[in-house]
């Protein structure tokens, strides 16, 4: 194959055409399939579940309300998961045996039980004891779960920082707190940002599971609409598309952030 052909085959245009052909093929399959089971497409029904626009007044429909709940849950869990992740990573790297054992137990329990069971455990067992609301229970369950994975990523980032950086900070008289805050974590964060973004994307997707404890997130709203209207295909397609959009937007934002910081992220 000559070079020219190679370039042609790898060009974005060819990629685009391949993608469109694949999408059309999938669409055709679904169309055929739905035709065979006699599915009656009613896309025109969908917009009003997203939003309505009466007399120039914008009213969000159940799907957008659900999206808002999903975003709130995700944002709160993201913050809390980062806190859990960072604390656990620091505990595992600390000199305290108790701290290390505690962190280890947390990690093993979380990583070796299903998230769904953790959500149920929090909601049905712990929530009544501590008088937690659904939303709080959902956020805590999700952050404990994602925090465990985040902590492994953060720990790997911290230990990847060259010993010389610690030694330079040490010999300048910096406290360990300042060393972490100004020298180690900013550099570690820079390195692990792609993995952490992946974890955040997982968090968004996993948040769908909180619909099982009747938190009215995007997924729950979708299920409710379908139960009432039987627009199964249209609503699930729409819900999936919305999840796809949020995760893509998140990746995009992180990408831009990454390009903007030359040497790392600054906390000072």
């Amino acid at each position: 194959m000559n070079l020219r052909k190679k370039i042609m085959l790898n060009s974005p245009v060819i990629d685009g055409i391949k993608f469109i052909m694949l999408a059309m093929f999938c669409g055709w399959l679904i169309y055929r399939g739905s035709g065979r089971i006699g599915y009656n497409w009613q896309w025109y029904q969908v917009p009003r579940y997203l939003f309505t626009f009466d007399n120039n007044i914008f009213t969000p429909g159940p799907l957008l309300e659900g999206l808002w709940v999903t975003l709130k849950i995700t944002a709160c869990s993201l913050v809390l998961a980062t806190v859990f992740g960072l604390l656990t990573a620091l505990l595992r790297l600390s000199g305290s045996l108790v701290g290390r054992v505690l962190a280890r137990v947390y990690l093993e329990v979380i990583r070796n039980t299903p998230l769904l069971v953790q959500i149920f455990f929090l909601y049905f067992v712990l929530a009544p004891i501590f008088e937690l609301e659904r939303f709080a229970a959902a956020v805590i369950a999700l952050s404990l779960f994602e925090g465990a994975y985040a902590s492994e990523i953060i720990r790997a980032g911290i230990v990847s920082i060259h010993r010389g950086q610690w030694e330079a900070a040490h010999s300048l008289g910096l406290s360990s707190f300042d060393t972490y805050r100004t020298v180690v974590l900013p550099q570690a964060l820079q390195r692990i940002l792609p993995s952490l973004t992946g974890q955040a994307v997982s968090l968004i997707k996993d948040s769908a599971l909180v619909s099982t404890i009747a938190v009215y997130d995007l997924t729950m709203q979708g299920r409710t609409i379908i139960a009432e209207t039987f627009l199964t295909f249209e609503i699930w397609f729409t819900v999936a598309a919305i999840y796809l959009i949020i995760t893509l937007v998140l990746s995009l934002i992180v990408n831009v952030l990454e390009k903007r910081s030359p040497g790392g992220v600054q906390f000072t």
């Binding site: 060259h162 010389g164 950086q165 030694e167 330079a168 040490h170 010999s171 300048l172 008289g173 910096l174 406290s175 300042d178 100004t182 020298v183 900013p186 550099q187 820079q190 910081s261 030359p262 040497g263 790392g264 992220v265 600054q266 000072t268």
Partner: protein
């Protein structure tokens, strides 16, 4: 003999009979004793693995000693955290691999400890930083990131960063070993300047010409032990130990 014996000098580094063994069979420092007067330059030489770095790193608490005592500017380097912190602040260190903070500009690198440890405000810190950058000849690089500097420039920034803490003692661990030959001179020049200003320095180096020129005292060590310790003039002109002479003849 460069200086009169009769001048009473203040001892600023007092290392008494320290021992250090890393996990493993070979000890890194054995019954190591030395004293450094304020304003003197002590150069430590010896073959690879003889414990030169270990000695330096013990002086600022980067490594723990197993036994013996280290006193720096009347502060014992013991288990007391306050003492250790105080010594870290008073002893600057320059590394073979520079160890600048890559995510900060030159200015931020040098300001950092002044702000956090010496509690200066931004203006005061920046003033000191710019003075120091002037001194090492890099004032125009204040806003650069380390990656944009040559090795020699990075090492001069690292020296300025250590000096910004106004240390009483400076440690140099093979500060020029990672540099291309044409950049060694610019770093040695800065070190020379410091020595002439009366900075107390402990220097590990393979640059024998520089060692000879700048040192007041020389320690030659091997396998964690001091083989010979003498005033610079004596050491180079008539070393007492056969082992020292052999080492010198190999390296010069």
């Amino acid at each position: 003999m460069t200086r009169s014996e009769s001048v009473v000098k203040e001892i600023i580094i007092d290392v008494d009979n320290i021992n250090k063994t890393y996990p493993g069979p070979i000890p890194a420092l054995v019954n190591f004793t030395t004293r450094v007067n304020k304003g003197d330059v002590l150069v430590v030489i010896g073959p690879s693995g003889s414990g030169k770095s270990t000695f330096l790193r013990c002086l600022n608490g980067l490594e723990e000693i197993d036994s013996g005592t280290i006193i720096i500017d009347s502060i014992p380097l013991d288990d007391n955290e306050k003492h250790r912190l105080e010594i870290r602040r008073e002893v600057g260190m320059v590394f073979q691999s520079f160890n600048l903070f890559p995510h900060m500009t030159v200015l931020e690198n040098i300001n950092l400890a002044q702000r956090l440890v010496r509690k200066k405000n931004r203006q005061q810190a920046t003033r000191t930083t710019m003075d120091l950058l002037d001194k090492v000849g890099l004032a125009e690089k204040a806003e650069s990131y380390p990656a944009a500097l040559s090795g020699g420039q990075q090492q001069r920034v690292a020296i300025a960063r250590a000096l910004a803490m106004k240390p009483k003692v400076m440690l140099f661990d093979e500060a020029t070993s990672a540099l291309d030959p044409e950049m060694i001179g610019e770093v040695l020049e800065v070190m020379n300047l410091l020595a002439n200003e009366g900075m107390t320095m402990v220097v590990v180096t393979h640059e024998m010409g520089f060692a000879r020129e700048v040192s007041d005292w020389i320690i030659f060590m091997e396998a964690g032990r001091i083989v010979e310790q003498d005033r610079s003039g004596n050491f180079f002109s008539n070393a007492k130990k056969e082992r020292t002479r052999r080492f010198l003849s190999q390296i010069i």
